[in-house]
Symmetry: C2
């Protein structure tokens, strides 16, 4: 695990001259500075890298062209003017920290450490509400894990009540390859997919729209610096390969998945869409929120040596509060606020991100800048901490009632799923992730 | 399925003025013209697209710069000068056929239909033995299927003797997402991977080099023109999205795979390396070798409508003869030729490539130019038609003896696996695939 030192960028008393960044419940104070890629409406410009600050975005491409990034190493300022975060990701953690410090000084309200770029930055601030957020980079490969033991147990219980956890669970960070091409940024509507479905009483399957569309509340980790093919990343170096975190909704069609997944795992039940939140919260911003994993009891088998380190054990997890909400079409029409369906915490994963990454590379598999690793559904022990409808409604057997009286076993057309996350800790600024949103569109153009 | 008409480029009497293309047993006669990307030694040039002809490569980048491609549409000649086949793939089948006809006329020995570019092409021919073949394109996503019913039954029998085929097999073209980053071109050595292994009598797993490294004899299909997210490709259009075929060795660590694969499928048991042959044989070249699938008896359930079409049933399969050979270090030292371990035919797949592609997109999943779909291990019904050591040695229980006396349950260090394929049919030129090779390197730098 990389040293996650706290520096001046974390100080709670720091304020920005961007006033909207100083609201106590905001996601993007000056202590956060998450990175993303945006596009302005019309043809005003190509996609640019931006940093969220309050309600605004600092356009790094514009800053670079104006010479405002000259103080950082040329490799960094050059990477800031690209159309994707890939170049910055590839540089590894030290340059990113250098950039963060510079941006923090540029955006902070005048103090001795502020720098002279503040005034120059003014023309490169854009309202967040006026841009379109894109994927932060080209995602080469997407791997999805199964790192929440509560989720694994909840799901296992539905199928094997006496023996919910498989024998490998406490040894292997279980994961599978997901589909990269269908990852979309928050706000992209998701079409209800067709697929082969075999209902319980039927002799044969039929082809039609899924009747059990679900969300999965997950957190993604973008890979930063690559490791060459054949070169595993040791557990203590794994975090230096993680660029930052985002929210992931791993949309799932449970009926398609149930019929197809033996013996090679999920495929079309997942690959129709995966949504991610557009702002990547860096490991530097999350440094104050590092904790021990909360879900591995002392009595469990210790991780094998290649997944074990004292530092990872002490602070390998992230204290990030997650929430998933639902808003139906009728709720929106009636002015009813989205209803919370579950709250979970990322610290409740059985495996830390460093363990997931070390495991992923332990066979020599190469991870490239921009590759995405996701946690798998994050659920907690309480009933109120379930990260999917599959768990919440027990496979549809116990439907839930929404405010306004509608009932849901699984998602209905025009339902909007909203995911949010933030970190909080006394003595530190609140760090938010923004939102991951997606509306379900009715099925269309089936080919059957 | 797209119309696969035979035109002048398929005529058996066509000869090339490149003499080595006219040998009857050669892989690359003028009727083939497979495409790949190569690099010349030193820094003489960037990667170029080339077409194999006999022992030579026609450098399309050089041809384009010299104006020799001016006769084809500008979009085509421009795509020929790229460093990757992605651009050509994106254009779809008609431009590719136009290019093929032009190249055939350029390279054929003088006949009325030859064109005037023949002499101009001479300076753009390079010896194949002097270049390094690269991946043909950036592979965005790699999906691997399980389309050989003989393979599925052979493997199933090892684990469930009474019930080898799962209930979904004859309805769902089973597949999973593979790892794109670790796909390497033929000739790249493959390092024996470390991983978690639980031997049968042990209470807990340990971390070490795989003791059951295997090959899988497969064929890959490169996606050409993309389909947008949310837009399934109907079965009758599926072939217009397939650019061409290559050989795939889906290296597998059976012990790692056995311990990790429940419940989400293969992951690190596969993702350490996948080798592909560098020459993509186009669908045009394969037009004379289209046949009905040979492995679906009339008594089996018919494919669901979205996987069914009269044309696909009549000619959806490819009559491609596959072979996998092994050469141990000691065999090479002793001058013993590689030994054939299995011969199979691509027509024996239960599902056609068009069915695999239509199924893959049936949930709206988007396939991009350069995405790779693979067949899964191709095995046939006879004992001599097994495409993996897992099947051949029955999980190591029945080791095989190599010429020279060595014994193999699975692959040993320094073993070289060689895959070859070709098509033959009376009245048509032999169409070869070249080779997919890889040597096993000893395990190294485990992190445990």
């Amino acid at each position: 695990m990389v040293e996650t030192t706290l520096d001046e960028t974390h100080e709670i008393q720091l304020k920005s001259w961007v006033e909207s960044a100083n609201q106590p419940e905001g996601d993007f104070p000056i202590q956060n500075l998450p990175m993303g890629v945006f596009e302005q409406p019309g043809d005003r410009g190509a996609p640019s890298i931006g940093v969220a600050i309050g309600d605004l975005i600092l356009d790094l491409s514009g800053c670079g062209a104006a010479g405002l990034l000259d103080i950082v190493a040329p490799a960094i300022s050059q990477a800031c003017t690209a159309r994707s975060l890939q170049g910055l990701m590839a540089l590894g953690p030290a340059p990113l920290s250098e950039l963060r410090l510079h941006l923090s000084r540029t955006l902070r309200a005048h103090q001795p450490n502020s720098n002279e770029n503040s005034q120059g930055a003014l023309p490169h601030l854009i309202e967040r509400s006026k841009v379109r957020m894109l994927l932060p980079c080209q995602i080469g490969d997407y791997s999805d894990f199964y790192a929440s033991i509560h989720h694994a147990a909840n799901v296992g219980k539905l199928f094997r009540p006496d023996n919910p956890l498989l024998p490998n669970y406490k040894y292997v960070p279980i994961g599978y390859h997901g589909r990269a091409s269908s990852i979309v940024p928050s706000g992209t509507p998701v079409r209800r997919p067709y697929g082969q479905i075999k209902v319980d009483h039927a002799e044969t399957p039929s082809f039609g729209p899924t009747a059990s569309l679900d969300y999965e509340l997950e957190v993604g980790f973008f890979n930063g610096a690559m490791n060459p093919l054949g070169s595993p990343v040791p557990i203590d170096e794994a975090e230096s390969h993680i660029f930052g975190l985002c929210l992931v909704n791993d949309w799932s069609a449970r009926d398609i998945q149930a019929w197809e997944y033996q013996p090679l795992g999920p495929f079309l039940g997942k690959s129709f869409a995966t949504s991610i939140s557009p702002w990547i919260v860096t490991l530097d911003a999350l440094a104050p929120f590092r904790v021990a994993s909360a879900s591995r009891p002392e009595s469990d088998p210790p991780p094998l040596p290649y997944l074990s380190s004292p530092r990872d054990r002490a602070k390998g997890a992230f204290d990030v509060r997650l929430e998933v909400l639902l808003s139906s079409h009728r709720m929106r029409e009636s002015g009813i606020e989205p209803v919370s369906l579950g709250r979970a915490n990322l610290r409740d994963l059985y495996w830390t991100p460093a363990q997931l990454l070390a495991h992923h590379t332990s066979n020599g598999c190469n991870l490239r800048p921009g590759d995405l690793l996701a946690s798998g559904t994050v659920s907690g022990a309480p009933e109120t901490s379930k990260g999917s409808l599959l768990e919440l409604t027990e496979r549809g057997r116990k439907p839930i009632t929404l405010p306004g009286g509608e009932v849901r076993s699984f998602l209905a057309d025009r339902d909007e799923v909203i995911m949010r996350a933030h970190c909080e800790r006394p003595g530190f600024a609140r760090i938010g992730f923004g939102e991951c949103r997606g509306v379900v569109l009715p099925a269309e153009n089936g080919v059957g």
